[in-house]
């Protein structure tokens, strides 16, 4: 099987020749190591943000960017350590709101100040949401897929569900918690509006040429409790999946947190693929438990590379074999590295990645044979 064919076989609940092993393109080193990885069957995964365009006719947005002060040493030694602060202001006829992001190491943006700071901000936030229109913008995806060919798959990114968007993007965890308990009326009204708008967006995404749709939900059970998950996430997943499934799309959700307290609820969702599932010690569910609980869903499992970065390659080998063993016979199972672990050009990282790829290539023939647990598997 070709790399893409192998991965798509698993996503369609068919049998692969070998358990697929993938990494996001941004996490794959270049040069000889890349060639070696791909010769061992590494599946590249590219993600395309914004197959939907966004327009806000009555809301104007202004972004200013500043480089945060650094000490002289930082400036001289490492330009990549520059810290950018983005201040985004939304102007509406009802007033303005702002949010701040800090971008570190030129790789990721993290919110430093959220849009909703006070309960009086809900009215303006609702205006902004209500003013938002979505339109198709599929060109980037088509280009990315053409470039990828059979070397991997390209996924279209859908936004986080409304409740996760409120948590991560609009309110931040403190305001989220306080408003959820103290201002439920305003909280729920915003949630309902957000749901309506995001479903409009999902309709645009569903019409795109992408077959696989990924939402970076980043749910962890400690923050998104079973009660919140059941009341706010599940109804949205049901509606979103209905839209996507009506257009034969695969609904994939990035769930790399602690999921044990949500496991039975996740089982009831129409999510097709649990992407980035992370076993202990970072997550709190074993592969066996996840496969048994989430029958009918694909478990695309993250190798918790950080745990083994300096543990020695023998340990990485054993752990990879142990993970394959846990998944035997391997139906609906794929492996991946989905976690940004820092410098992808570091020798240690490259060795870990090639070791996993080699073990999967050598021991991952489908169906996997269940062998007696290794000492690593029992830790």
């Amino acid at each position: 099987m070709k790399v893409k064919e192998r991965m798509m076989a698993v996503l369609h609940h068919e049998e692969p020749d070998v358990i697929p092993f993938s990494a996001y393109t941004v996490l794959v080193p270049r040069g000889d190591v890349e060639r070696e990885l791909r010769s061992m069957g590494l599946c590249l995964v590219d993600v395309v943000y914004g197959v939907h365009g966004i327009n806000t006719p009555d809301v104007k947005m202004q972004t200013t960017e500043a480089v945060a002060s650094l000490n002289a040493n930082d400036r001289l030694l490492c330009v990549t350590k520059q810290k950018h602060v983005l201040d985004r202001v939304y102007f509406t006829p009802l007033g303005k709101l702002n949010e701040k992001y800090t971008a570190n190491y030129a790789t990721s943006e993290w919110p430093a100040e959220w849009v909703i700071k006070d309960v009086k901000d809900y009215e303006v936030a609702e205006y902004i949401l209500d003013d938002t229109e979505f339109f198709p913008r599929y060109d980037d995806f088509v280009k990315a897929e053409k470039m990828m060919g059979n070397d991997g798959i390209v996924e279209a990114i859908a936004p986080k569900s409304p409740i996760q968007s409120m948590l991560y993007e609009l309110l931040g965890y403190k305001t989220f918690a306080l408003h959820y308990h103290l201002h439920r009326k305003e909280f729920d009204q915003l949630f309902r509006l957000y749901t309506r708008k995001q479903l409009e967006m999902y309709k645009v995404i569903a019409e795109s040429p992408a077959e696989v749709i990924l939402s970076f939900e980043n749910i962890t059970g400690t923050m998104t409790s079973p009660k919140i998950f059941e009341e706010y996430c599940m109804p949205f997943y049901n509606e979103a999946a209905q839209i996507l499934h009506s257009k034969d799309k695969i609904f994939m959700v990035h769930l790399d947190g602690k999921l044990k307290c949500l496991r039975d609820l996740i089982a009831k969702t129409p999510i097709d693929v649990i992407e980035a599932f992370t076993p202990p010690p970072i997550g709190d569910m074993t592969i066996e438990e996840a496969l048994a609980t989430w029958k009918g869903k694909v478990l695309w499992t993250n190798f918790p590379a950080t745990e083994y970065l300096e543990a020695g390659l023998e340990r990485v080998e054993k752990e990879t074999i142990s993970m394959l063993n846990s998944a035997a016979p391997g139906r609906d199972f794929a492996m991946a590295v989905t976690e940004d672990i820092g410098d992808i050009m570091s020798l240690e990282y490259m060795k870990v990645l090639t070791t996993i790829a080699r073990q999967v290539a050598e021991h991952g023939a489908y169906p996997l044979a269940k062998t007696s647990p290794s000492p690593v598997a029992c830790r």
Partner: protein, 216 residues
Amino acid sequence: MNERQILDRLRDCIANLDIEGVREASEQALNANVPAIKAIDEGLLRGIQMVSERFQAGEFFLTEIIVAGAAMEEGLKVLRPHVKKNEIENKLGTVIIGTVEGDLHSIGKDIVCMWLQGSGFNVVDLGVDIQTDKFVETVRAKNPIILGLSSLLTSTMPEMENVITRLKIAGLRCKVKVIVGGAPVSESFAEKIGADAFAPEAVAALNTCKEWASRG
């Protein structure tokens, strides 16, 4: 209401996440001449203890912990001005805490700060994205008994080891206990980098710090 009933009310309001109730009960305690430190120790902190038990039992989640923290703050706002100096400050010693460089996450750190402060530690919260030098300088200046390091990104975890190494170079490592936490951090990682303890969640961090403080 007698003193015991007022203290129980304070406890229950915290445990029931009733912020307004905590404020009222705190005022009630002062009006009834309950010593402020007693209202904190036997009212608010008993409530926090109940919240932590419910968290450990899986009945409460982080949203509830945050609201309990807000309720605690509301009570402290009323009671703290009436606490005699040295009755609460530095009762258990100083803890310095921060999220390591490159990481802007604060949720875990903030919750640990809240619990530690509520339990009588003097907490110096350095914030997020803290450079290694800053940790070392603050340990030197404040002479804490504990340093807490938080990281929520796998890519910033190595910074924890850098801080510990720099503490050793500065000759400060033996003077301070180091506790590490954050979603991707594990016991084995903590051991590998030479931390004294790993806390999988806020209550565990609090318990470890209390144990260390009690040993002196």
